[in-house]
Symmetry: none
Subunit: 401 residues, 2 copies
Amino acid sequence: MVSEEIYKELSIKNEKKIVLLVIDGVGDLPVDGKTALEDAVTPSLDKLCQNSITGLTYPVSMGITPGSGPAHLSIFGYDPLKYNIGRGVLEALGIDFKLGKKDIAARSNFATIDENGVITDRRASRIPTEKNQEICEFLSSRIKSIEDVEVIIRSGKEHRFVVVFRGDDLSDGVKDTDPQQVGLKPRVSASLDSRGEKTARIVNTFVETASSLLKDYTPANFVLLRGISKYPDIPSMEELFKLTPAAIATYPMYKGLARLVGMEILETGSSITSEFDSLKKNWHAFDFFYIHIKKTDSYGEDGNFEKKVSVIEEVDKNIPQILDLEPDCFVVTGDHSTPCKMKAHSWHPNPFLLNSPFGRKDSAVSFTELECAKGILGKFAAINAMTLMLAHTLKLKKYGA
Amino acid sequence: MVSEEIYKELSIKNEKKIVLLVIDGVGDLPVDGKTALEDAVTPSLDKLCQNSITGLTYPVSMGITPGSGPAHLSIFGYDPLKYNIGRGVLEALGIDFKLGKKDIAARSNFATIDENGVITDRRASRIPTEKNQEICEFLSSRIKSIEDVEVIIRSGKEHRFVVVFRGDDLSDGVKDTDPQQVGLKPRVSASLDSRGEKTARIVNTFVETASSLLKDYTPANFVLLRGISKYPDIPSMEELFKLTPAAIATYPMYKGLARLVGMEILETGSSITSEFDSLKKNWHAFDFFYIHIKKTDSYGEDGNFEKKVSVIEEVDKNIPQILDLEPDCFVVTGDHSTPCKMKAHSWHPNPFLLNSPFGRKDSAVSFTELECAKGILGKFAAINAMTLMLAHTLKLKKYGA
C-alpha cells in the first residue's frame, strides 16, 4: 500500500473529472441461481462494462465484513485499519449533526434501572421516538454545560440519542458507562490515558445529573453512554489527492463520512433521479463526485431480492445521464456486499468497474460478481480504487525517476 | 493483513464446524503434460469443487519456498514471518517430544573432530541409528543436569539428536556451536543479548562434558548444537479465533505444529482411512478439525509421480465420509507444493477449495492447479484461509459500524 506521504508527493491537480458511483451493498449471493446483479436487466451497465476494466474489491481484508464507515473510507483511499471511526461519531454523523474536530460524541441509550441501581433494561422498553424527543428537549433545557464544556443532546430513534461535549482539552481516551449487559450496575467512566481525566469527570457528571432529572421518567430513568469518541485526525482528499470533491447522498451517515474526508455535500432530493440531476447541476464546480445509492443495501438487509433488483434497474436507467457528462473516469462499485439471503453486510468482495480511455479492456461482458471476477484488475484491496481513479485521470506523477 | 487484536475482537463462538484437509505438498508441476492432481482420477473432489469457491494460495509470499513450519502456521492463521519456529524446536516436535514453554531445544549432530580440535565430519560418518541410541543413553546416564538446569537427550536418525535444557531463566538468544563447515573448530556459544548468558554457559558446559565423555566414541567423538530455540510466544487458536480445535495427523512434526497453536491431538492409526475414522469419532467434541495427509509430500520428495497420484486417489475415495458429516465449512488445500520433478518443496502456490453455503460459486470444475487459478478467490496469501473459514461459518462480527 502506498503511504499518504507518497500520495501527497505524486498527486497533481488537473481538469479531468472522476465519478465514483457507490451502489451500497450491491454484491449478493445467488437466490434461485442468480444474484441481484445477474437477475437485473441492465443494458447500460452491461454496455459500460464491455468498455471498462473490472475486478473484485475487498473493503478491509479477505473474509472481513465491514461496517459502512470502514467500507467507505477504503474506497475514498483511506486505510480502514488506520482510521477507526468511533460509534459515537458515526451516530452523530447518522443524525446529520455537524461535529467539530474537538467535539466528543457518545452513542447513548435511555435505560431502566431498579431501586438498587441495577440495569433492568438497556433500552428503556424502546420508548417511542416522540417520547425520546420530549425527554431530550427536557434534558437540553436543564443541562447546557458542565464546567466550561457545552453539552448538546440530540434525540435519535426509540431509546437512542447522542450527547456531544464541546470544549477544550477533551479526549476520547475514556471508558464507556454502558456495561452492555442487564443485571449489572452502570459503569463509572474513567480515563484510559493521561489525557482523559477531564472528559471522564464531565461524562460522569452528565450521567449523574441526567439520571437524577429522569428519576420519574421510568422506564427511561437512566442514561448509558458508549463509543465515546471524536473525529479521527484524518487528512482531507484535497490534502492527499489534490481533489476538489463533492458528495451526493441521501442518508446522513454517508454525508457525514464524506464530510469527514473534506467533501462538499451537494443538495439533492431523495430519489435516484434527483441525485443524478444534482450531479449534472454541479458538474462544473468539482473534479471528484461521490454518488451514493442507499436502497440496494436497505433491501438487502430486508432480504427483499425483487426490490433490490428493481433499484439496480433504476440505477441502470440513469447511467446514460452520467455518460452524457463525459467523465474522464467513471467507477461503479459497491462499498460491501449485502446478500439478501444473509440480510446483513457480508465479507464477499465487490464488483468493480472502471471506465476510462486509458483502460486495458478485459473480457467481462456484464456488471456481475462472476464477470468482474474474471476482470483484468483481479481481486484487490478497495483502498487501491482511489489510486486507480487518480491514475486513469493522469492525476499522479511518476514515482521515482 | 488483519492484526491479531482485531481477530480477538471480532471472533465469536458458535456451533458451526470447520474441516481443514491439508494434502501435504499436493501441488505439482506437469510430468508428461499433467500434474499429479490432473492425472489422478478424483470424482469426489471434482464434484466438491464444482460446488465450491477456489483459488491459489501463497504460504509465505510469491516465490518463497516454505518449510513445513511456516507453511502450516500460515494456513492456521498465523503470520509466518512473525512467528519463526527455531530448528531445535521443530526437531523436538519431529520426534514427538513434548516441549514446555520455557524449554530450550537444540538440533544436534554427532560429529568427528581430529586431534587439533578441527571438525573433519559434521555427521560422524552417519553412524547407524542404533549406535546413536546407544550413545544417547550413555550421555543421558552421565549428564542429568548442569547447574540448576535439567538436560534431556533424545536420539534421532543416524547422527542427529535433540538436546533440551529445562529450567528457569533460559533464553534462545545464544549462538550455535556448529560452524556448519568442516575444517573449522567448533564455535563456543555466546549470548546474543543480555538474557542469554546463563544459557550460553550451560550449552558450552554441555558440549565440553559430552565431548570429553565421547573421546573414545570416534567417529562420534564430538557434539555440535544449532538452532538453539524455544517455543515462540504464540497465542492459541482459542485465544485468537475462539475455536476448539483438534488435529488428526500421523507424523510427529505436524502434531507438534498443531499442539503449538493449541490444538488437541486426536488418536489415529497411520492409514488415511483411519484418519477419517478419527474425524467421525470425534465430530461432536470440536468445532475445528485439521486433517493432515503426509504421503503426497513424501512421494513428491521421492519424485514418485505414480505413488503421489495414488495417494490423491485414496484421499478422493474418503471425501464422501467427510461430506456425510455435513461440515459447515470444508477446505481442501496443500501447505506448499512438492513437485515430483523437483523432489523438494517449492514456491508454487497451492490449489485451495472452500465449500460452504455462503460461497459465490465459481467456474472451476476440478481440483487442479489450473482450475483453481481461475477461481473467484484469486491468488491470495494462505494466512487469509483462516479468515475465510471463520467468515463462512459466521464466526466473525462486522468490523466497524
